[in-house]
Every structure is written in structure tokens, then in C-alpha cells.
Amino acid sequence: SSSLKSTYIVHMAKSEMPESFEHHTLWYESSLQSVSDSAEMMYTYENAIHGFSTRLTPEEARLLESQTGILAVLPEVKYELH
């Protein structure tokens, strides 16, 4: 259920993108859709990392992390001002 969803930052190995994808964002979307029908990309990262952030259940996150081309699926962390 969506109430169990948390934010994750998904790190992708861009060099492992299958040639069938014309653009890396299409590959990101396809990877995301393979574990979740409803999840949407919040941010797509181009410079700081290769990847995106999204809302997933823990099970979806675990499934995504096991896929080829996924380097890491890291949970959202709260930072504080100093």
C-alpha cells in the first residue's frame, strides 16, 4: 500500500544501459516500472549521480536493487542545519 512507501535514491550504472534504450531516462522508467505499477520518478539526476529518486515499498526497493544495472537503492535521509 502507498502508506508504506518511502523515498529512495536509485543509483544506476549508466554504462550498463541496454542498447535497446534510446535515452537513459527511458531505461530508468523501465527499471522502475518493472517493480512498481504506480511509482513515479521524483527527480532524475544527471550530474551528481546517475539515477533518480522515487517512492517505493521496502519490497519494491529490494526487488529493484537486485536488478542488473542498479548500483544502489538508498533510503531518504534527513539532514539538519548546523
Binding site: T7, I9, H11, A13, K14, S15, M42, Y43, Y45, E46, N47, A48, I49, H50, S53, R55, L71, A72, L74, E76, V77, K78, Y79, E80, L81, H82
Partner: protein, 651 residues
Amino acid sequence: TTRTPQFLGLDKSADMFPESSSGNEVVVGVLDTGVWPESKSFNDAGFGPIPTTWKGACESGTNFTAANCNKKLIGARFFSKGVEAMLGPIDETTESKSPRDDDGHGTHTSSTAAGSVVPDASLFGYASGTARGMATRARVAVYKVCWKGGCFSSDILAAIDKAISDNVNVLSLSLGGGMSDYFRDSVAIGAFSAMEKGILVSCSAGNAGPSAYSLSNVAPWITTVGAGTLDRDFPASVSLGNGLNYSGVSLYRGNALPESPLPLIYAGNATNATNGNLCMTGTLSPELVAGKIVLCDRGMNARVQKGAVVKAAGGLGMVLSNTAANGEELVADTHLLPATAVGEREGNAIKKYLFSEAKPTVKIVFQGTKVGVEPSPVVAAFSSRGPNSITPQILKPDLIAPGVNILAGWSKAVGPTGLAVDERRVDFNIISGTSMSCPHVSGLAALIKSAHPDWSPAAVRSALMTTAYIAYKNGNKLQDSATGKSSTPFDHGSGHVDPVAALNPGLVYDLTADDYLGFLCALNYTATQITSLARRKFQCDAGKKYSVSDLNYPSFAVVFDTMGGANVVKHTRILTNVGPAGTYKASVTSDSKNVKITVEPEELSFKANEKKSFTVTFTSSGSTPQKLNGFGRLEWTNGKNVVGSPISISW
């Protein structure tokens, strides 16, 4: 800021920094709570066209349009998808869904780094003078990532992502998120990519001091900044009925207290709550505190909140006493009622009087602003301390900079205390934290970058670190506010920043992105973890021996195995000459008799731009000493430049 330019010697050396006139435009990006663009600190008078390399934008939203930017404030973006996904939509009636700063923190940090010159600045007359940022001619780009609900990693990473493509030169982050390994920490990950693009990333060390291992933002590609005091204070003394006086500090300005002494009561005796001594909301009995000055203990809730609690209960004033957690370090606040903060020792003395006197009385005497306070700087007690909990072989913090009672720009959306009940509005506020010291270094890095546009982020950091000072003019070592004794490299890193010396460091310890990747190989990071940070396939060379101690860092953290036997640790470094040709000689000092330190070679002769390597060998006698940390220093000097590196030795 109104004092740090003099304190750092910038006022005497303005012509040494070319800044924008030479066309070497530098953009400082600040990730924080946004910006109050109407602040005079973002006045763009005298600024030329925005650099053609700038790709940033001024985003519109609540009470903010592109018209709020100018030739000084050239970028303003906000990132809220992460916080909204976590906490629900932003309530735009209480918080601006735009780059506008409703908090004040972001306006303070960005104006500290690169604010324009503003004459006649002060907070209620305190700290009056001409306010300016460290790099007055640098351009500012703000990236709002912190909201009332906090700062979330997905938003922070998105902001760094944009800042890189916008083409900032320096990134300033006065925030932290605990201690996680580099490949799990979004700030470290984003900072790595920024560093690869030539962007210097300066981060606050944290306010979790004086506990050991309390640092955040310790990745070696980040410049980690601790906090020290200025030579300025805001005395407000406590005068007791028995004739004894105790010193305190305050930024209170408002209705004065009566001339005659007022009754004094301890908050712990004016409450039914177990933590009533802390003056928590709703814990004070109005019948007992009305018309009196209340002594509250520090801890749990915000210091200014305690003042508001006393005021709401009918108290006329407050004496805020430190406890053992804060010792004698005093932080001045703009309380809503007449109040002063005293150290633990003074607080205990006042309590002793209070408990022994049937009708104790007190007066608070506000004495304004005092400059020339010595010794200064002193390491702030709150400044987070080493050792580095992630990689003990990298000494952190890197250096300290002014971070106590700093005056800088503020948001008009909030009062100087940040409390909802505070309806005062100010152009400038005085606050403390490593949040304040970080943008000092960010701005100074921008100055160095403008003078040396071809230097890498590591070279700029090296210049700032190797020229930092560790002793006062009288030769005494820098002090630690937490202990009253000399501070160590775990407290002050390489020392206190000296930007004028950093301009011409003589030699630098340079580093490339590949050097850091080799460092990750030495940490036995997996290929996946390294690829995550590097954003490209990087294979550690199986035939190569990687060593953490060979990272070309401008400081030395030696860790000996305690499992007996003679122990030898070698650190190899490469120095790059950024001055004229010359010969440098090495000298080493150490307080650790159990360790022999040798430098090979002891003398290095450089041509212009030449690189030379050397090795420092640390040999432990074998027995683990009672004191598990030792400290020392390596200096290379040509008679003019001194290239200093701190040494920490741990067992």
C-alpha cells in the same frame, strides 16, 4: 559580517585579491533555507554583466520571481519534492514554496560567504559596523533545500545536481546528517561529482562537540570546517545582592529593568515539573515567578525559548546558566526579555547564593559590544571533534573559522530569535554554529579561486589548510573553550584560517578525482560502491598496492595497531610548487615520545610548478602508551613560506 574581515586581515589586503575585475568571476552556491533577496547584502551596485558561463536560473514561486535576482544574486532555485513526498504538500500560508527564506539561516550563510558591503549594519546597535561577506565581489546562487520539516537527501542531491550544471565554483553546505559511509551519504556523493567538475565543496563539521568522534561531512574531497570565536563579546553581567558580580553575555535590547535589584528565583523552585529548572514551555508557576528574575538551566529546549517561557509566566528577566555539557562557553542571544547567559561556574556560584539567601536579589547590567577580547580565536565548545569515525587515517576537521556570535543578513519573515512570538524584524542577526564558520571558508575559497583560477579544489583547500595558524601572536597555542586548555588537531584541524597567507602558500598538496578513487580502492570499496560515487566504471588495479595513508592530504592521521610489536606507518606525499623556485626544509615536532618521526628527504628544491615527493615514517616503540592520542606538526619552509601540516597519532 562586521568583525571577521578585520579579524582575518582582509581589510588590510583588499588589493591583494583581484576578484571580478580580472574577469575571473566566481560563483558561490549555497544550499540552505533560501534567501531574502531584498537584503542589502545582495545589492548589485557596481557589478558587471553576469558571466557568460553561468547556466543557472531564478525560479519563481511564493513571493519570489525572477525579478528578485540581480547581478549579485544570480541564481535562486528551490527543491521540495523530497520534503513534500515525506511530509505532504508545503503549506504556502506559512512557508514559501520558492527560494524565499522564511527562516533566516540561508540569508545569514549566503551573505557571510559573499554578501556585498553594507555600511551601518548592526543588530539593535550590537556589533555595529560595515557588514560584508568574505568574497564581496563573488556572485551568489542559492539552492533552497531546507524546509520547516527538515532537509532531505533527495532534495539536496537534486540541488547539487543543478548547481553543477549551473556552473558554480564553490558550494557551501551548512548542514549534516550523521555519520554514514561515503557511498551512502548523499552530500558526500554529490560533493564527489562537484569536486570532479572543479567545484570546491565546503561543509560544516557539526555542532556535536566537544565529544570525540562527533564530526559529520568527513569525506576527504569535502573541506570540513569547525568553529572558533572572534575577539568580540557582548557582556551583560550579573550583580547579586551580596555584592558579587559575575560576567555573562546578551544581545537583549528593549525595555530596561528597574535600577533597583529585583528578586531572584531558581526555576527549579518555581515549578512542579521535574525538568522545571530547564524552563520548558508551561512548566513555570506564574505566582512564583511574576515580578522576578528567573535562573534557568541550559538544555533540552532552545535558549531563546526559555526566555519566552519566563516572560509568558510573568518573569521580568532571566539568567541562563550553562551546565557541565556547555562549560564556560557563552553564546549571546537576542532574548525577548532582559536576560544574560552565564557559564557553569558562574551559574553554580549564583545558585549557591540563591539557595543560601532568604531574599536573594539580582541586577543585570548590559554593557554593549566589546572588541579586542583575548585570547581569540578559541575553539567553540560546540564545534564537532575528531577523530574521523569513518576513516581515522584522514584527519578532520580540516580547519576552523569564525562561527561564534556572527552578524550577517537575516530574513524579514521571522524575528531574530526565530520564535513565532517574536514580532521584531531585523536586517541582520547574530547567531553561532559551524553553519556560520562554513560559509566563511566558502567565501575565502572563492577569493583564493579568483586569485588562482587554475587551481583545483584540493589546491585551494591545501592553501587554506597549510597556512592556517595554531598559535596566538604571543606564541601560546590556540585554546579550546570546552577545556580551557590548548586545543588539538582533533579540535582545530590544521588551525584557524588565515586567508592572506593562503593567497601565497608556496607549496600545495594537490589531488585529482583519480587520487580519491585510489583512496576508495584502499578502503576496499567494492566496484559497485566506487561506480556509485564515480558515475563511471572504475576498476581498482589488482596489481597495485593502494594505501589510505598515501592520499595526498595536507594533514597526517597515523593509526597504530595496538596488537603489540614495533609498528611502522609510512605516509607518502607530493608537493607542488606554486611559488618561485626555491629550497624547502622539513622540520617535525611531536608530543609523543613513543613515536619516532622521520622525513625523507628532509630538503626539497623546486623549480617553478615542479612536483616533488617525500615520505614521512612514523615508528612506534611497540608499547601502547597510556595516552592513546599524540599530536605533532610537519612544516616545510623556504624561510618565507611555512607549509604546515598537523599530525595526529592514535593507538
